[in-house]
């Protein structure tokens, strides 16, 4: 069994305040979690705001280094990556899906330019890519998410619908041909129909491309619907974990139970 991602007893402490009134905040305490190469999956991470979900995501993405423990990707300790080339190669394999596409895209910049720039950045393995190569890659990832280059060519963000932007953000993440996506609250702003089409897309990417996806969300219902495994976090700790349906059908930890009970259902009284 080889591991794609190995989060090994990881912790992260932030120091806050000035010299005299330092206090430390343990955002993540001793979390371990593995994803196997051979078993691509959607792993949901749920929990209240401030429970450490985004800090965990930042460590997986290599944007922050753990204070304790190690994050290994393909067997390599992320903290040990030094050279620019290695760093680039790592970033290509683990891609974030931007949180809110309405903020992620610069309103004054055409969406296709942004995709071309990303492609030019990552397609450097065989020297500088040609214009055609870049366009072909961008078109391919757009088709992967159910769009076409023709639909987004020359468009500014406000000229696209919310659904088109959301998909474009996922297409952008697919450009470097990653193995793991980290999606932090990708659906908090969208209606149920669009939300389901995005999580269905996640399912398709897992099945078709063998991608694994860490899906950070407040939405327990879509987590139930799409994910293979779930972890429930509170105050930097994992309070419950397991098969998503088993955990949500029958939560054991008092916090998981409270969380499930607070979910509003569309069956009104």
């Amino acid at each position: 069994m080889s591991l794609l991602l190995d989060i090994d007893h990881v912790g992260k402490t932030f120091l806050q305040g000035g010299l005299l009134s330092r206090r430390s905040i343990e955002a993540v305490k001793d979390i371990s979690l593995q994803i196997e190469v051979e078993r691509p999956e959607i792993l949901s991470v749920v929990g209240e705001s401030g429970s450490g979900k985004s800090t965990l995501a930042a460590m997986v993405l290599g944007q922050q280094l753990p204070t304790r423990g190690r994050v290994l990707f393909d067997g390599v300790d992320v903290a040990s990556i030094r050279s620019r080339a290695d760093r680039c190669a790592f970033m290509a394999k683990v891609q974030p899906v931007l949180q809110n596409p309405f903020e992620a895209f610069n309103p004054l910049k055409r969406v296709d330019r942004y995709l071309f720039a990303t492609a030019a950045n990552f397609m450097t393995a065989n020297g500088k890519p040609t214009r055609q190569e870049i366009e072909a890659r961008v078109d391919r990832v757009l088709v992967e998410v159910g769009l076409t280059l023709a639909e987004v060519r020359g468009r500014f963000p406000h000229e696209l619908s919310g659904g088109q932007l959301q998909r474009t953000a996922i297409a952008r993440a697919l450009i470097p041909e990653p193995r793991l996506l980290v999606a932090d609250e990708p659906v908090s702003m969208v209606d149920a129909s669009l939300r389901m089409s995005i999580v269905n897309l996640f399912g398709a990417l897992r099945d078709r491309l063998g991608l694994s996806i860490i899906y950070i969300t407040h939405d327990l219902a879509t987590a139930y619907y799409i994910s293979d495994r779930i972890i429930i976090m509170r105050k930097g700790e994992v309070v419950e974990r397991g098969d998503a349906r088993t955990v949500l059908d029958n939560p054991q930890h008092p916090y998981s139970i409270a969380l499930k009970n607070a979910v509003l259902t569309p069956d009104f009284a």
Partner: protein, 342 residues
Amino acid sequence: MQTEALLHTPKAASEPILAVENLKAYYTTKAFGIDRDIRAVDDISLTIAKGEIYGVAGESSSGKTSLIKTIVGAIRPPLHVVGGSVCFNFEGQAYNIYDLGPDELQTIRWRHLSYIMQGSMNVLNPVRRIKHSFFDFAFAHMGLDRATFWDKVREHLRRLDLDPGVLDSYPHQLSGGMRQRTTIALATVCTPEFIVADEPTTALDVIVQRDVLTMLRDIQRDLGSSFLFVTHDMSVHATVSDRIGIVYAGRLVEEADTPTLFRGARHPYTQHLVASLPKIGDATRRASLSGRPPSLADPPAGCRFHPRCPLAMDICSKQVPPLNPLAPRHRVACFAVSGATS
């Protein structure tokens, strides 16, 4: 309009507190010297009764925020009103928002309306104690002496189950949920007759969300205010709204009492929306609609849903289906629904 007002006046047969008629508001942007219109609010008519909670649903970019900005007169370029009217009725007095001078509009907004904007949860000044935010925001508009003003603020906080001690805190000392609730207390301290809230709980975790919704409903009940409540989240509507209007690509496509909307929706988009709601305990596959919501810069002709609609007919790409009454308090804009083609 006469019949419509009658049809949509629930509860007491009171005058509607809000009547929106044929409202159109577009963003006009210039690219390469060419004006381009984004038709974010396109011919919307609705009424809201006194004491009613009217929910507006629809996905992001469908025009919800633009609609309510236009309703409360909080628009600025490039958004502008192209046609229609917005009329409030406060204490027997009619106010046509787009006939008022800027000063009058300000007075109405302060005296009768409270608008909790999307993403406004950080209006509390981060470097000052919360009492200063209350003072700056409300004192000048309430016409009370200081002592009475603070009594009123404390009473309002207690009514909302908030410890008046929060007034002496700094925003960063409160949890996210407390901050959110304090912000709502601030927005409603002038006891408005009409509250407008745009996605007030989006991106909150479920436990905080539940607290905030309970609080909003308590305020509405205590003050007897009317409430225009915008969210894309149908589960929230199911819990809060008396009546729901569904917006698709800038147009109102269906409107009904909440139970009717969930059990007997007739517009194909609403039907799909309700059917696609995920639920814990139910992992059956939900189909995605084909295609995507249109861009409002270039919406399809006729019914804007026609490229994705399983029932689309010839007429659907040529004519705009009117939003017609199907039953009392149930309006649908669809050629395939009998009764809607009069």
